[in-house]
Each structure stands twice: as C-alpha cells, then as structure tokens.
Symmetry: C2
Subunit: 212 residues, 2 copies
DNA sequence: GCTAGTTTAAAACGTCTGTTTTCAGGCGTG
DNA sequence: CACGCCTGAAAACAGACGTTTTAAACTAGC
C-alpha cells in the first residue's frame, strides 16, 4: 500500500482546487476539508504545500510522459527504416495521449491543462525548473521527431513555434469555461475538449509550417 | 492634476510587482514600499486591492485600445472603397500597436503581457468579465475585419483560431525570461520582444489560415 | 499483544494579509 | 486665514494562512 487512501484523496482534492482557484488562493484547509481528511495530514504525508503541488503534477505527468515516450520510441523505429513521420501524425499522437492517457477521462485532462496554465504563469522558478528537469528529455525527443517532419523550418524557428503551440493549447484549454460560454452565445454550439482539440490540430499544423 | 504623483507611483510599482509575482503573491505593503508611499494610500486612492488591479489594467489597455480602434476605423474606410485588408497587415498592425503604443518601450509591453497571462489564468471572473465588458467592442471590430481577410475560414473556426493565437502570444511573452535562457543556451542567440513578434507573425498567419 | 505506521481531533504558533483608524502636517484655492 | 484635499507615520484590527505539536485512537504485521 504505497499509496494510502488519504494520500489519494488529498491529491484528488488538491488537483481540482488548484485548477479552480490557483495555488496561492487554495488553502490547505480547503484541500483537507474537501478531501475529508485532517489538516495535519498534508504536512505529514507531503511535508509542505510546495511538495504537495509537485506531487499533484507528478501523479499526472509521469504516466502521460511514459506513454508518450513509448510511442515516440515506436515511431523512431518506424522512421529509421522508412520515411519520416508526418507532422499531423505527431500532433495527433500528442493530443490523443494528452486527452486519453488517464482512462479516457477528458475532464481530468481539462483540469490538468488549467493546472499547467497556472504553473506557467506562476513566476516562481521552482516548479518550472522541476518540470523541465523531470520531463525535458521526452520533450526534446518529441522535438527531434518534429524537426524531421518539417525539415524546411529552421531549428530555431521551430523551437519558438512549438512554444507558441504550447501556449495556444494551454491558454485555450485552461480558459475553456469562459470560452464555452461565449461560443454558446455567439454560435449556439456546445464545446467539448475533444472538439477543441480537433480545432487545434489544423491551427497548430498551419502555424508550425508557417504561413508567410 | 487628475493623476497625482502618488497614484502614478503606486500604479508603476503595482504593474511591475504584479507581473513579477502575481496578484495574490504581491502584498500592498510590497507595492507601497517599492513606490515609496504610505500603505494607507492604496486604499485611499483606489479603495481596495481589487480596484488597484483593475486600475493597472485600465491605464495600459485604454490607450492601446483607443489607438487600435482608430487604426481599425481607418482600415474600414479603406476597405469599403477598395479590396479587403490582407491578414498580414492586420496582424502587423496589432503587434506594432501592442509593442509601441506606449512610447516605444517594449519592456513595458512585456510587463503587460505577463500581467495578461496572470489575469487569464486567474479563475476569478471579476477581472475577465471586466476586461471583456470594457474592451470587447474593439475586439469584435478587429474580428470582423479578420473575417473578411480570410473568408474561406468558417466564422466559428476563426473564433477559435483567434483565441489560439492570443494564447500563443500571451503565453510565450509572459514566460519569456525562461525561454530566453533556453534559447540562449541552445541557439546562442539573445531574444528581444520585437524578435519574438517577428517569429510570431508567420506562425499566427499560418495557424489562422489553417494547415490541413 | 506488542509495535510501528496512520489517522483524527484540537489547539496553538507566529506571521502575513487587507483594511481601517487616528493624528499630524503640507499644499494650494477661495 | 481657513478650508478641503493629499500625504505621511504609526498603530491596530480581525482574519487567514502554513506549520507544528500533543494526544488519543485505529490498523495492520511480526
């Protein structure tokens, strides 16, 4: 029982509340109250609030990155004895994994995108540095495949365009509730995460190829 | 003297500190201390911390939106008796105004982009609703011109792609310091705001046109 | 049954927060 | 001069916060 019930309930509650209100605005008391556990349990199991935040990210990101890493290895094998991996295939892979690597529950993916948005706009370096250190290799691996998919885009421009794409994804999906309201009002159309992802793919593909 | 010296100094300090550390993490004491004014001055002049945040946005956004509005009216006049406004021209206009509508000081623009990032990831509705209410018309005006620049993109897809672009811009520019460090390490190239904007334009143009 | 690890309950700690108040002076306008 | 507005200094307020502590239960494994 490496993962006791209390730990899991704390992580679940923290995940939702951090996404809803942000890190600083979410108190440990709110978390433990929602989780139905004792206030002291957080510091008992995690040591500090900061460590809890990292644990929330780790629980989500590790399975996703492992899945992505495995798929990328597959693709590298395919592309070694054959043609390059097309851009659309790479993007589709990432999006499918991001939305579906946790038991087909896009709502959790949505929560996590909000979390990522908060993490990135958070100017404290701890978290960002930690993320880069732990998940940088997978990112670079993905970038390498991408580079071969669009060889006419100079490496540095590609670097920036990938970050632009990340911005588009995280920003949009983390502000989705408000955008949903507008979309419903202006176009009378409800919007789901998978729907947005479908809209995102041509945008990102077009952006990475560049439209001068 | 509608704008006393104290008010200006508070706004200046708040702008920088909010961008650096976020809203919740910046105390009124830090602001007044940096501004060299009394703690009570904030509540005296603005009424509350929330009102101060809005004031910071207002001071920056109002001149920018006025300038944008004027330029858009120009363009509407041109396009009425003539062809459409090309997409690149619209994007270039917006970017130039965003960077230069405050006396050619891109550093302030950068600060403000960080601010916008914080505002958008902030889930409290007040600020977002307030921004939408005050600056929605200009945004819709810009969108209308955009629609005519890319008539083959369905309105709803265009709506989303504009938000994707916003995300790319705000996300990238609000996390620029960290990205600068990576870029310098990997490509040995220093990066300025104008430089990023140049990189952004083809990405956004390609994304909005869509690259299926 | 003893022991070690969990969990709860409750209270307290010190600190920081936004906000308010009080008192004092400064400044220009009528 | 007197009045109103701005500013400064200082203190206090009540509340929330992260964290720690103490004590008493529970729950397994040896």
């Amino acid at each position: 029982m490496s993962q006791s019930d209390t730990v899991k309930r704390i992580l679940d509650a923290a995940e939702v509340l951090f996404a809803e209100k942000g890190f600083a605005e979410t108190s440990l008391r709110a978390i433990t109250s929602r989780a139905g556990v004792n206030l002291a349990a957080v510091n008992y199991h995690f040591g500090s609030k900061e460590a809890l935040i990292q644990a929330v990210f780790e629980r989500y990101l590790t399975p996703f990155c492992q899945a992505l890493d495995a798929k990328l290895e597959e693709l590298e094998g395919e592309s070694r004895n054959g043609g390059e991996v097309p851009l659309e295939k790479l993007l589709l892979l990432a999006s499918r994994l991001a939305l579906g690597s946790h038991g087909d529950e896009p709502r959790r993916a949505m929560i996590f995108f909000r979390l990522s948005g908060q993490a990135y706009s958070q100017p404290q370096d701890h978290l960002r540095a930690w993320l880069r250190e732990h998940y940088g290799p997978v990112f670079r691996r993905f970038l390498a495949l991408l580079r071969r998919a669009v060889p006419d885009v100079p490496p540095m421009e590609l670097f920036w365009r990938v970050h632009f794409s990340l911005g588009a994804v995280i920003f949009t999906l983390s502000g989705m509730e408000s955008l949903q309201a507008i979309s419903k009002k202006d176009f009378n159309q409800t919007v789901t995460a998978t729907h947005i992802t479908q809209q995102l793919l041509p945008f990102v593909a077009g952006g990475i190829r560049g439209g001068g």
